[in-house]
């Protein structure tokens, strides 16, 4: 067991370093997230100029939701893991994993967790520096211990779901030459149903009930909504069960695609 963990500890360390390799990637992403925040401020500021409450929430709690979303994105979101995996398949870098007792999924996931740990922490820096600018706009719900206790596992499961989806898109390289189209297509779906365009609870109730059954709901909106007080205890606990179900299902799908894909894979050169 210890040697097992030791193996992936090294992958974890590689992930820490990958942040240095992809530093431009990070900086540009961080810059645009802040840009996005400006859009949020302008749009929702204008929305709330005509009304005090939207869906039962005031402007500060709506802004808090979007700020939370950005923090979460840098801690648990999949960035370009799909493209990296796709590259490794196309270049034949995965061939070495077929010969060694290293599980490719576990290897990639270790890199993902360490990379996100760094990117999440780094993202806190500009957000904290700029805090005086928007501090008056924030409003957290009254402190309740269960929110933290449920939001943390929800975050971990959300990370697993996000990574698994990215991994599955990477696996498509076994069948398709280009995965970019699929990735951007799913980005639109994820942006909408993951709650990045607007808090999902603003949707008509009937549609919200459907969204709750989909995995996208759990990859971003769910942990953010627990943190910012947009869902109650009952909904959070039942959500956690569905979320765990999706995490397992997606995990199974990654393994299925990997074993199916390898059958089509022809390792050339070495």
């Amino acid at each position: 067991m210890l040697t097992f963990l030791n193996k992936y500890r090294h992958a974890f360390l590689v992930g820490l370093q990958s942040n240095i390799v992809y530093r431009w990637n990070f900086l540009i992403r961080a810059f645009f997230s802040l840009f996005q925040l400006v859009v949020v401020f302008i749009l929702w500021g204008a929305v709330f100029s005509g009304t005090d409450r939207v869906g039962g929430f005031d402007l500060p709690s709506t802004i808090t939701y979007f700020v939370t979303l950005i923090v979460l994105q840098f801690f648990i979101g999949a960035f370009n893991e799909d493209y990296q995996i796709s590259e490794e398949i196309r270049n034949g870098l995965i061939n070495q994993f077929l010969l060694k007792p290293v599980n490719y999924f576990a290897y990639r996931f270790s890199i993902f967790t360490s990379a996100r740990l760094v990117s999440g922490t780094l993202m806190l820096v500009p957000l904290l520096i700029l805090l005086p600018l928007y501090k008056s706009q924030l409003a957290l719900p009254p402190f309740e211990a269960w929110r933290i206790l449920l939001a943390l596992p929800a975050m971990a499961l959300a990370a697993l779901i996000q990574f698994s989806i990215a991994y599955c898109f990477g696996m498509l390289t076994f069948w398709f030459l280009e995965i970019q189209g699929f990735v951007i297509l799913s980005m639109a779906v994820e942006a909408l149903l993951g709650g990045q365009m607007f808090p999902l609870d603003l949707m008509p109730q009937r549609l919200l009930r459907i969204a709750e059954l989909l995995p996208f709901y759990y990859q971003m909106y769910f942990p953010a909504a627990i943190f910012t007080g947009r869902i109650d205890y009952a909904r959070a606990t039942s959500g956690l069960v569905i979320q765990a179900g999706w995490a397992l299902a997606l995990l199974a799908l990654t393994q299925l695609l990997w074993s199916r894909g390898l059958r089509r894979h022809t390792a050339v050169g070495g």
């Binding site: 645009f32 840009f35 401020f41 302008i42 204008a46 100029s49 942006a191 365009m197």
Partner: protein, 261 residues
């Protein structure tokens, strides 16, 4: 005249190429359609909870978003992939190929191919604008429609200039294509009404950068009739940005030293 013939030849080549990669065409058309729907859904959801945003009613807002989409679809269809590839070509040295052609380099680079998927979706965007105008009971006269069309053209010129400038930065730095990608974020602002911008945001996005006027000017022409001040403003901005873009491109061209091989 010969430039028109060159352009028609590239258009023909692009259509043949699309027919060869039909699945690609379908996929990318879907991608754009999805993103357009996402933006329209955002508007719909917001107006479920309020009647007006910065003084704009729901269908006025849809008209604005549709106008912004229309301009962006034309830019995507005509220029986007050419200019995106330009920054890549500058780095790899393939850019030589364009300099060797007997024509204005910027023209040769910018018109190499079309993306029919973006052009197809421009009809969807146009449909959105017409639908919104219909719901608002607008009956614009021929002059208003002509003004709207010209303003859309100015908008395309402005987008084109911003893209040329970002891509030209590759002559100096290597991070050019991420800057080109940044263009998308910038133009998210053009889906917002001008009145929503206050304070510093008003100075930056309305006065310094052309992202807000580009969509707001044509949309309010349809909504409230022709306003000379908006038209002059948009026209001047388009001219200025195009001039700067051509200047930056030509300065960059002087720096271009090809790639060693």
């Amino acid at each position: 005249m010969s430039y028109l013939r060159i352009w028609l030849a590239s258009a023909r080549y692009s259509i043949v190429r699309t027919l060869m990669f039909r699945f690609d065409f379908f996929l990318w058309a879907m991608v754009e359609l999805f993103w357009m729907s996402v933006n329209l859904l955002l508007v719909t959801v917001i107006y479920d909870h309020t009647a007006s945003v910065a003084g704009w009613s729901k269908y006025e807002m849809i008209l604005l978003v549709g106008t912004a989409m229309l301009i962006q679809r034309y830019v995507m269809g005509f220029f986007w992939s050419n200019l995106f590839e330009m920054s890549r070509n500058i780095r790899s040295g393939t850019f030589d190929f364009f300099l060797a052609q007997p024509g204005n380099p910027l023209f040769m680079v910018a018109t190499r191919k079309l993306d029919p998927d973006g052009l197809c979706n421009s009809f969807v965007a146009l449909g959105v604008v017409i639908y919104a105008a219909h719901r608002l009971g607008l009956h614009p006269g021929a002059a208003d429609l002509a003004a709207y069309g010209l303003m859309i053209l100015c908008g395309i010129i402005i987008h084109f200039s911003v893209l040329v400038m970002s891509a030209s930065l590759t002559f100096w730095t290597t991070g050019g294509d991420s800057i080109v990608t940044s263009y998308f974020s910038l133009f998210e602002f053009s889906r917002l009404p001008r009145a929503a911008f206050k304070g510093a945001a008003n100075v930056i996005f309305v006065w310094l950068l052309p992202v807000v006027v580009v969509s707001n000017a044509p949309a309010s022409t349809l909504l409230h009739g022709f306003q000379p001040s908006y038209a002059v403003w948009l026209f001047a901005v388009a001219l200025a940005w195009l001039a700067v873009a051509i200047f930056v491109f030509n300065r960059g061209l002087r720096r271009y030293a090809s790639a060693s091989s």
